[in-house]
């Protein structure tokens, strides 16, 4: 099925922000915005749902803490409770201060690394991934807003986008989608 989108190109992030608000007011659906750098407040203007990655990080941290405790309890207390320099290895709690550095580090390690991997998976980033640039200039100094053009009067839409400050408007027929 032929699927067409409009690419509106902006050269300034303030103009882009205003354009997003205008487009939202008209209840047009923004597919995607490409920007060379983070634009503060863009996600709010677009109405994107807040990220839940901090929650995953918290859970990964709890997992890391559990791994550290279970590991050291098994190794140092249950499996072979040796007397090493007079440290009390009768129970986990008695020897706990010695384990805290490892508990802390593993918590941080799990939280950080698993969160980063989660980020890569959710945003579909990996080595040898084919880059998805609709326009190479968006990696340098241009901003691109992609709007669904199906069932819309393309000319009318283009005229409206020009009024929001777009410097260039392209109608793209997207065969893959």
């Amino acid at each position: 099925m032929a699927h067409s989108v409009i690419h509106a190109i902006y050269t300034d992030d303030d103009v882009l922000m205003n354009a997003v608000k205008e487009v939202k007011k008209k209840h047009l659906h923004i597919n995607e915005i490409y920007s060379p750098f983070p634009v503060h407040g863009l996600d709010k203007a677009m109405g994107l749902a807040p990220t839940r990655i901090a929650i995953t990080a918290f859970m990964y941290g709890c997992l890391g803490l559990t791994v550290a405790i279970v590991m050291m309890n098994f190794i140092m207390i249950e499996d072979w409770p040796q007397d090493i320099g007079g440290k009390p290895s009768f129970s986990y709690i008695e020897n706990m201060p010695a384990f805290v550095p490892i508990m802390f580090e593993l918590t941080v390690f799990f939280a950080a690394h698993l969160m980063v991997i989660t980020f890569y998976m959710r945003s579909k980033l990996w080595p040898f991934k084919k880059a998805e640039n609709p326009d190479l200039r968006t990696t340098d100094d241009h901003f691109l807003m992609e709007i669904d053009a199906d069932g819309q009067n393309a000319q009318e839409l283009a005229d409206f986008l020009v009024t929001t400050g777009a410097t260039e408007i392209n109608l793209v027929a997207n065969e893959e989608a």
Binding site: A54, F58, G86, P97, A98, V100
Partner: protein, 476 residues
């Protein structure tokens, strides 16, 4: 402009009066002679140590752990603390690291602990509120030096809280001077008999430190520090007033320079103050990290109080430009400094626990054995509670959440101070009874009264601070 409401004034006075009455009532009830102690211990059936830690839990004094203090100082403190070797029976003598304490000595020892109780209670409460004002002043200076754009709206709140610095530090000085004049026995090293070579109570370790630890030196240092802090406070307030009325930013630049100078002075004096006023209560013990540790606790309390006063003023319709992002930032500071405090607490504890050197480890052994609940309880209140409560970004914006976390943090740091002071002064005879609560209430009332009177003196919003516009539109 804030005006001190009648209700607040009245509540502050009620707190002071009730606190003083509670203190007086309990003070009268405390044992005054060895006969009282004997009767008290007999009434408890010659108890087996580990029952309740109540107001009159006198049976605890058995094992004579607090060897650094009162009359047993003629042996190195480290030897005594292998708990198992200590006699547990109530009647008859008991061995304490080779020093045999007769029944009379035991009663005398316990009596000394009870005589220290009200003094320690006042000392802790006075220091607790004093340190809030002092750390608030340091935080205030940091805002100037860092040229923080978010905080100028809160500078007047901080100035108000530091209003307690002058009365608070004078009270501290008077308390130290009273100890120096031997009206109490909080600081064991102040006993001149300890320095008499060949004497009954000669303490080689303390005698060796007497070049630093002597009453004259302590009072001179305290006077210099207190003068320095108060002079900075005086000029900081004056400069900000001038800046409000001035035509250029000359006074703001002066504030900046004064703050930078003060911070250098502060970090040295704060460190020495913590050795003088707190660490020297255990004159046989030392820790290099102690100054930082006290500092971290002070900072948490100060920031918490700033947040609570701000929320209060906001709730009565003042400070209309303060938004939830400001509260969010303060709550972040509360959270981060709580963790910083825990980091220092643990670093101090773990290094000493791990190496287990007798002369250092007695400090923690007395605390873990005799102060188990306050010792670990305050760790939960100061670390686990704020960690879980203030981690969520949304919660840091909810006022009652920040208030609730603040109350727990403040109580936790009171307990922290309690754990630093009490084991050295009253040993096992501790309790959280009317003397402690009474003196805490008294100083709380005084603090509220002074802080809010001081807030009422000036408009709550700086007029011509160069960063005030940024602060008004601060958004996180």
């Amino acid at each position: 402009m804030y005006t001190l409401s009648k209700n607040l004034k009245l509540s502050a006075i009620i707190f002071m009066v009730v606190g003083a009455v509670l203190f007086a009532v309990d003070y009268v009830m405390l044992p005054k002679s060895t006969a009282d102690i004997e009767a008290m211990e007999a009434a408890h059936g010659g108890g087996h140590g580990d029952t309740a830690h109540e107001v009159d839990g006198g049976t605890h004094t058995e094992k004579g752990h607090s060897t650094e203090i009162h009359g047993e100082s003629n042996h190195a403190s480290g030897v005594a603390h292998g708990d198992s070797q200590l006699a547990d029976s109530h009647d008859g003598d008991h061995a304490d690291g080779g020093h045999v304490m007769s029944k009379e000595e035991h009663l005398e020892h316990t009596l000394h602990q009870y005589q220290n109780k009200p003094w320690s209670a006042i000392y802790i409460a006075a220091f607790f509120f004093f340190m809030i004002a002092l750390a608030c002043l340091a935080f205030y200076a940091v805002q100037y030096v860092a040229q923080a754009g978010w905080s100028p709206l809160l500078l007047r709140v901080m100035e108000g809280i530091t209003g307690y610095l002058l009365p608070g530090s004078i009270i501290m000085f008077v308390l130290l001077a009273l100890s120096g004049f031997h009206l109490n026995h909080l600081f064991h090293w102040m006993d001149p008999d300890l320095l008499v070579e060949g004497g009954d109570k000669y303490d080689k370790l303390i005698a060796g430190k007497s070049g630093y630890l002597n009453v004259t030196g302590l009072l001179i240092r305290a006077a210099v520090f207190i003068a320095g802090w108060n002079i900075y406070r005086f000029f900081a307030v004056k400069f900000s007033k001038n800046q409000d009325e001035g035509a250029d930013n000359r006074w703001h630049k002066k504030s900046f320079k004064a703050a930078a100078g003060f911070l250098v002075f502060f970090i040295y004096t704060e460190s020495i103050m913590s050795w003088d006023w707190i660490m020297s209560l255990d004159p046989h013990w030392f820790s290099t990290l102690f100054g930082w540790y006290v500092f971290a606790g002070m900072m948490v309390c100060a920031i918490t109080v700033i947040a609570m006063v701000t929320i209060y003023l906001k709730s009565i319709g003042l400070l209309e430009n303060v938004n939830d992002s400001h509260i969010h930032d303060l709550a972040k500071f509360m959270f981060a400094f709580s963790i910083f405090w825990t980091y220092l607490w643990f670093s101090q504890f773990m290094l000493i626990w791990y190496s287990n050197i007798p002369e250092e480890v007695t400090y923690y052994i007395t605390r873990i054995e005799d102060y188990n609940l306050p010792f670990f309880g305050m760790l939960a209140m100061n670390f686990v509670f704020p960690l879980l409560l203030l981690m969520n970004s949304e919660y840091k914006r909810i006022n009652w959440f920040v208030m609730m976390a603040g109350v727990v943090i403040l109580l936790g740091h009171y307990l922290d101070l309690f754990n630093m002071v009490m084991p050295a002064t009253v040993g096992k005879s501790w309790s959280i009874g009317f003397v402690e609560i009474g003196s805490l209430m008294f100083f709380f009332g005084l603090f509220i009264f002074v802080v809010f009177s001081s807030l009422a003196k000036r408009p709550l919003e700086p007029k011509r601070n160069p960063l005030i516009e940024e602060s008004k539109h601060f958004h996180y």
